[in-house]
Symmetry: C2
C-alpha cells in the first residue's frame, strides 16, 4: 500500500526528510509558503547565510545517499581563528587533525536537497502559506499566491516549518501543550567580506573567524566564491555597543574601526550591507508533545535553538536520521507509534543541545579570549591526548560524534566541575603541563560517567 504523507516547509529539514520518505516508497507532498527560490536567484548569489555542517549532519546525509552531492559545495574549517583588538590572530583547532566543520551556503544546500527530493518524486507545492491547521481533523487551510484559499486533509502531517511553525501554533492553541519561547538579548546582522581584487580569499579560508568582544562579537565563514559571510551579534539595547545606539553610518564606522579594525579594512560594502540587511532576532523554543493524532513536529518547529553551537541544522538532520531508523524498525502501519517513540527518545537530547547552544554564546564571545580559558583548554586537550576515550572535550562530543546530546551534556557538566577544581590551583598557569593527570581522570572514572 502506498501511503500519503504531507510535509509543511521545504527548508533544509523538510527537503532531507522528503528524500528519506521517498526512499521508503511513500507518496510525499511538501507545502512551502515561499515561491520557488531556485527560479529567482542569480542576482544576490553567494550572499546567503552559511551553515556549519558537522558529523551528525554528514551521517544523516550519508544515510540519505546524498553526501557525495553535497561535499563539493562545502569548505572545511578545522578550527577557530581568533582576531584580537590589535589585529593579531591565533588559531584554535576544533578537534584532531583530520576533524573539521564544513561551511556551506544555506541556499545552495537547500537547492541540492530540494532537487534530489523532486528527482525522487516528491511533489513540492510553492506559494502555499498555511493559514490554519485543525489538528484533530488534520486539516490544513492554505492561502495561495492569488489570495485564493485551499483546504487539504492529511493522513499523516509533518511540520518541518521552522521556528515559527504553523503546525506548532495549532498545537499550542488546540492541545494541552507545553511551550516555551525566549528571545535572547542579542540580535544579528549579515555582512560580507568579498574576495580580494586578485580573486583570492581575504583571510584564512580553513577557519571560522571570530572577533570575540565580550558582550558582542563578529564571525565570518568562507564561501566557495572566495568571499566570507559575516555575522555581527550585538545586544539590542542596554549596552554602549548595541543596535539601539547605532543611528547612522558614522556609528557603524566607529564601532568597526574600534573593535573590528582588521575586518573593517576588508569590507568595502559595510555601510550599504548594514543599511540593507535586516537586524534579526534569535529565538529559543522548546515544546512538548511533538506529536498528536498522526501529526508531528520536527527540526526547528519542535526545538529552535540559538546558533552558538552550530548545531541547529545538524540536530534537525539527526532528527530525520532517527525518525528514519524508527520507520525502518517499526514500519509505517502505525505512525502514532513511530512518532511517539521518536518524541520520547529525542526530547531529552534536543533539550540538552538547546541549553548548550544558549551557554555557548558566553564561550564564543567572551571566554575564548581569556588566558585562563586557554590554559583550561590546554589541560583538557592534554587529558584527551593521554586518555582519548575517557576524556573527550564537550565540543568534540557534540560536533564530532553521534553520542546522544543529553549524554554529552551530562559528561560536559561533570568535566566542567572537575576543571573548576583544577583551575583553583594558583600555579596552574605555570605548571599546567605537569599536573597529576591520572588523578584528574580518576575523578571522572569514579563518578561512573565513563
Amino acid at each position: 500500500m502506498k501511503e500519503k504523507i504531507d510535509l509543511l516547509g521545504a527548508g533544509l529539514i523538510g527537503s532531507l526528510l522528503a528524500i528519506y520518505l521517498k526512499k521508503r516508497g511513500l507518496d510525499v507532498n511538501i507545502y512551502e509558503k515561499r515561491q520557488d527560490w531556485r527560479k529567482i536567484k542569480k542576482k544576490g548569489e553567494g550572499r546567503s547565510i552559511n551553515m556549519a555542517l558537522s558529523d551528525r549532519g554528514w551521517q544523516a546525509l550519508e544515510k540519505a545517499g546524498i553526501k557525495d552531492k553535497v561535499l563539493p559545495f562545502t569548505l572545511p574549517m578545522s578550527g577557530r581563528r581568533i582576531h584580537d583588538e590589535h589585529g593579531s590572530t591565533y588559531f584554535q583547532p576544533y578537534g584532531k587533525e583530520n576533524q573539521a566543520i564544513y561551511s556551506i551556503s544555506r541556499n545552495a544546500f537547500n537547492e541540492i536537497l530540494l532537487d534530489e527530493a523532486e528527482a525522487l518524486g516528491a511533489n513540492i507545492h510553492f506559494n502555499h502559506k498555511v493559514e490554519r491547521v485543525n489538528v484533530s481533523k488534520r486539516e490544513v487551510e492554505f492561502c495561495l499566491e492569488n489570495g485564493e484559499e485551499k483546504r487539504m486533509t492529511s493522513d499523516v502531517l509533518i511540520g518541518s516549518d521552522g521556528s515559527f511553525s504553523a503546525l506548532r501554533n495549532a498545537f499550542q492553541s488546540q492541545l494541552r501543550f507545553n511551550f516555551y519561547q525566549k528571545f535572547i538579548s542579542h540580535g544579528y546582522k549579515e555582512l560580507h567580506i568579498p574576495a580580494t581584487p586578485s580573486g583570492e580569499f581575504a583571510m584564512d579560508p580553513k577557519a571560522l573567524h571570530i572577533w570575540p568582544r565580550g558582550k558582542f562579537m563578529l564571525i565570518a565563514l568562507p564561501n566557495l566564491d572566495k568571499s566570507f559571510t559575516c555575522t555581527l551579534f550585538l545586544p539590542f539595547e542596554g549596552y554602549k555597543v548595541s543596535f539601539e545606539n547605532i543611528y547612522d553610518d558614522q556609528d557603524v564606522v566607529k564601532i568597526f574601526k574600534t573593535y573590528f579594525n582588521d575586518a573593517f579594512d576588508l569590507m568595502p560594502n559595510l555601510l550599504a550591507d548594514f543599511k540593507n540587511n535586516p537586524t534579526s532576532s534569535l529565538i529559543n523554543t522548546e515544546c512538548y508533545p511533538w506529536t498528536e493524532n498522526n501529526a508531528l513536529l520536527i527540526g526547528d518547529a519542535a526545538h529552535a535553538m540559538v546558533p552558538f553551537y552550530g548545531q541547529g541544522m545538524n540536530c534537525g538532520f539527526e532528527d530525520c536520521f532517527i525518525l528514519d531508523n524508527l520507520i525502518e524498525k517499526y514500519g509505517t502501519s502505525s505512525w502514532d507509534l513511530v512518532f511517539e517513540k521518536f518524541q520520547k527518545t529525542r526530547k531529552p537530547d534536543t533539550d540538552a543541545i538547546c541549553q548548550l547552544a544558549m551557554d555557548n554564546f558566553v564561550e564564543m564571545s567572551d571566554d575564548i579570549a581569556d588566558p585562563n580559558f586557554l590554559i583550561r583548554k590546554k589541560i583538557e586537550a592534554k587529558l584527551h591526548e593521554l586518555y582519548p576515550e575517557e576524556w573527550q572535550p564537550l565540543y568534540s562530543m557534540v560536533t564530532f560524534s553521534d553520542m546522544r546530546y543529553s549524554e554529552a551534556y551530562a559528561i560536559g557538566k561533570l568535566q566542567a566541575k572537575i576543571m573548576d577544581e583544577v583551575m583553583k590551583d594558583p600555579n596552574v598557569t605555570k605548571n599546567w603541563n605537569s599536573l597529576d593527570y591520572e588523578a584528574i581522570l580518576a575523578k571522572v572514572v569514579t563518578s561512573g560517567a565513563v
Copy 2:
C-alpha cells in the same frame, strides 16, 4: 481632555479595571466575546465556580468603592477542614481568629462588577470575538454574532482577556516576546453538594473542605444557597486514579466510595454532574514584556496561574489596584510610562505567586495529611505567636497581607530552609513545644531577612 481606552474581556479583572478607569474620568469600552450572561442566567444559578477572595482582593475592591456591595455575597472560611479516608475531619485555621478567606460565586461576582462598571458609564460590547490584533497599529478585528467582521483602532488597548488572551497571542507572533505555557499533569471537574432536605448546609460552612489523597484531591467551597461547589483534581493519566481510567458510572462510584465516602453520601447528582461537566485542564503561563505601543496585558492574560494558592483573581485585582496607583501618580498623559512602570514593578511578584501556586498543589493534596507537616505547622504557629512580626507564616504573608509576593516568596524560602533543619531533630514530635525558639528566630534575624 477625555481619553478613550479599550479593554478586551469583561471578566472579573476587566470589569474591575473598567470601574477604576471610569472613576478616573476616562472613556471606557469593553469588548467581550461571550453574550451578556446576565440576561440568560436563572436556570443553572448557584452552579458556578467559586472564588476565594482574600486581603489583596478586598483591598482592590475597597479602593474601587465596591467592597460593601460585594460583602453580602460572600461566605467567610476561616480555615481548612480536612477529611481523612475514614470520614473523620479536623480543622486547620488559615490564620488568626479574625482572619478568613471568602467564598463567592464567580458569576454573581462578575455581575456585580459589570453592573457597577456599566452604571459608571463603561460601554460593554458583547458578542465581540477577537479574530486578530495588529499590535503596531493597535487595530483589532472582531467577528460578531452574525458572522460579520468589525474593525477598531484603539488609542490605548488593554488585554484583560484571560489565560488564552488574544492580545497575548498577537504579542507572541508580532514582538520579541518571551513566553512560557505549561499544562500541569492534573485536570479538574466541578461537582456539587446540595443543601440538605431541610435546607441546611450539609457540612461546616465556615471552612474550605479538602479531601487530600496524595496524587489527587477533592475540595468544596460553600455557596449562599447552602450548597457546596466541589472540585475534583485528578491526574489526566499515568496513575491508577486518573481521568483516563474512568470509563463508566461504576468507576466514578468506586473512586468516591473508596476515597471520598463521606462526600459521596452528600452527592445525589454525582453521576450526572460527572457526565455533564467538562474535564478542564490547568495552565500556567508567564510572559514578558506585558506592554508595547500603548497596549498592555493584565491579569491572567499576563500571568495565568494554577488555582492551588487561591490567588489568581486576587493577584489580578491587585494588578488593577497597582495600575490605578500608577495612573494616580503619573497621570494619563503618557500611558507608555505608566505601563512600563507597571510591568517593571509587578513582574517579579507575579512570577513569585505563579511559582507558589504550582508548589502549593503538593501541600494541599499531600503534605497537609502528613503528621510531620502538622508538627511543622505547630512549630511555625508557635514561632508566629512568640514573634508575630518576625515570623509570619508564608500562607499569611500571601493571603492576609499586601506584602509583595516576591518578598513573601523569598522569606518563605528562608523559613523553609530553617524549618527543614528544625525538623531533622529526631525527637521533634515529642519536644516541639520546648524547642529553643529564640535560637530558631535568630537564624531569620541574622540572615537579614527581617
